[in-house]
């Protein structure tokens, strides 16, 4: 019997096929980056082969808590997301913008040579695909284009993975960003790990993905394979650790800048900026100028920055956002409300990183729920 017709070409590969995928990408000149175990966390770093993936590991995530835990199987993608996001490659934490040379003849500015590096990302989750699409809007769709970001983005080959585990702080279902990768990838994998097999259903998302699949040992995917993959995603969707009611959320936050909950959360917030560093969509940066002792060369470097620092809103006379209350309010209201005004989507993808990596366990879903439950009723217009 023929399987249900699918919108996309699919195939089945096994672990050998996945190894071949990594090799084929490296062979095509890509720097292959994906999840690997380091410093008691699953982070994104260079992958040489299949053994670099965190086989047999998962993580326990809760508000302010992240622990690796051994699985009782050898799943390669049996975890959610760690502290890294792909922005560290597309929108790097430190980037030289230009150098300047001063001599008796004048002053010359030079942009750095564009890097030749082409990334292949292996293991991009559905929420992260949405995060990348969100940063695309920031850097590529305004009146100006960030050429460096654009080049890295254009060249990137993306292998998505449909999630087989929901993290304790995940809420992609609420944000409608996952757990299934719907678009924005070259290939998407679903790990099918059963007693008698360890396969991956491959979906093709682009001509480049189709061409790469042809280079891998693969076989035809049948109806049972598709049903098994659907079941993996459905099970993950049913196990979200968190939920966030998004109905009316934008107006709720924008109408309640003086809600007492902002004082409450300010009591717990250390303004450390962890949430902004781990957030896959937070894009804010600052700049630093460096110069040599002779005063002939200078360079300007762009660095990730956080709206939680006092310096972020500094104007002569003092910072605009002096209080932790105002800085938390700025971050959360931007993320869940004014982002929609600016870019047409929420700035939140439901990955849960800000909850997990908050040292005091502040939970954006809980803060939003409390404000919703205790906000004064809106007056009728």
């Amino acid at each position: 019997m023929e399987p249900e017709p699918r919108a996309r070409t699919t195939a089945l590969i096994d672990r050998r096929g996945l190894q071949a995928l990594i090799e084929a990408l490296a062979d095509e000149g890509y720097r292959v980056v994906g999840p690997t175990r380091r410093d008691d966390a699953i982070v994104y770093d260079d992958l040489a082969d299949l053994d670099d993936l965190p086989a047999g590991w998962t993580e326990h995530q809760e508000a302010g808590r992240y622990r690796l835990v051994a699985r009782d199987d050898q799943a390669l993608f049996g975890y959610a997301v760690g502290p890294h996001a792909w922005k560290r490659f597309l929108h790097p934490p430190v980037e030289t913008l230009w150098t300047a040379q001063r001599d008796e003849h004048g002053l010359t500015f030079r942009s750095p040579e564009p890097a030749e590096e082409r990334f292949a990302f292996l293991g991009v989750r559905a929420c992260e695909l949405q995060a990348i699409a969100i940063q695309d809007r920031v850097f590529l769709e305004g009146p100006h284009v960030d050429a460096g970001y654009g080049a890295r983005r254009r060249e990137a080959f993306i292998v998505a993975v449909n999630c087989g585990e929901a993290g304790g702080t995940c809420f992609c279902v609420s944000m409608q960003t996952g757990p299934r990768a719907e678009s924005g990838f070259d290939l998407a994998l679903t790990e099918l790990l059963e007693a008698d097999r360890h396969d991956f259903l491959v979906e093709v998302g682009s001509p480049a993905g189709a061409a790469l699949l042809e280079r891998l040992p693969h076989r035809k995917a049948g109806g049972a394979d598709h049903r098994a993959a659907d079941a993996v995603v459905a099970r993950t969707a049913s196990r979200m650790g968190r939920e966030l009611e998004t109905q009316g959320l934008k107006a709720l936050l924008q109408d309640n800048p003086e809600h007492p909950r902002w004082d409450d959360v300010a009591e717990r917030c250390l303004t450390c900026g962890n949430c902004t560093m781990v957030c896959p969509t937070c894009f804010c940066t600052t700049v630093e100028d460096h110069s040599d002792l002779a005063g002939t060369r200078a360079e300007r470097v762009r660095l990730w920055d956080s709206c939680f620092t006092l310096d972020f809103s500094y104007l002569h006379g003092g910072s605009v956002r002096q209080s932790p209350r105002s800085r938390y309010r700025q971050w959360m209201t931007h993320k869940l409300a004014s982002w929609i005004d600016q870019f047409g989507t929420s700035g939140c993808v439901g990955c849960g990183r800000c909850i997990t990596w908050c040292p005091t366990g502040i939970d954006i879903t809980e803060e939003a729920a409390v404000i919703r439950a205790t906000a004064p009723q809106r007056r009728d217009p």
């Binding site: 913008l97 230009w98 300047a100 001063r102 004048g106 002053l107 010359t108 500015f109 942009s111 920031v138 850097f139 305004g142 009146p143 100006h144 284009v145 960030d146 050429a147 924008q254 800048p257 003086e258 894009f283 804010c284 940066t285 600052t286 700049v287 100028d289 460096h290 110069s291 005063g295 200078a298 300007r300 762009r302 920055d305 709206c307 972020f312 809103s313 500094y314 104007l315 002569h316 006379g317 605009v320 956002r321 002096q322 209080s323 209350r325 105002s326 700025q330 931007h334 004014s338 005004d341 600016q342």
Partner: protein
Amino acid sequence: MSMATTDPRAAGPAPFVPQAYRVEEVTRELADTVSLRLAPLDGARPDFRPGQFNMLWAFGVGEAAISISDVETDGSFVHTVRAVGAVSGALAGLEVGTRVGLRGPFGTGWRVAEARGADVVVVAGGLGLAPLRPAIQALLADRARYGRVAILVGARSPETLLYPEALAPWQRRPDVEVLVTVDHAGADWAGRVGVVPGLVPRAAFDADDCVALVCGPEVMMRFTVAALRHAGVAAERIHVSMERNMKCAVGWCGHCQFGPAFVCKDGPVMRYDAIADLFSIPEV
């Protein structure tokens, strides 16, 4: 038809990379404030709209957003800089002949032409006169197309009144009402004493058919807007120029956010009705 060259994203250097300019003239305006006349070392000065700003870079120190306060026919920009921090201090200390970096112009301008046929009220507090001066020049250059024009200027003291040499000819014109006030003054000051919002009820304009352009410290703008609203000026006919920390000037660094607005690209000049909800909330 050449599409490629008209795409602003394809044309010109990356928005982060400055152009080299030369300090042609330094004019001391106030004890802590100078005007720099800057001419490009290569090519022509880009076009600008009154109210826009440039990012000025002092070698090895850093960059600051400074509004354009005048242009010269020789193709230079004039920027008025008050030394309040490391970068502005370095800029204010530049000597003639020094090379600086400049990128811009950025941001929205005063919608001067939109006021044609109506009365115009310009309200400036302190250094707020700097970004308003090109707007006033544009108004006066095309004076016949506007109704009554009132220029209300305030400063902390007579010594901190900006551009007295520009104010004098405006004051002499019969077709412009110029009202000046200072917060504090000694016995030798014959003019008004009081804050600038207090001038609004004294100026002659038709509240139902006027456009107001307001720039100054945020607290001054808040009270000025209140005075204009009290006089009956509609919120959508009041324009204010906002100031926030800026690192990139193109909407990428995030520092200048004011609610949903990026002041660098949605401002600095903003229609009051668009931001009225945020204007009175502290620490936005």
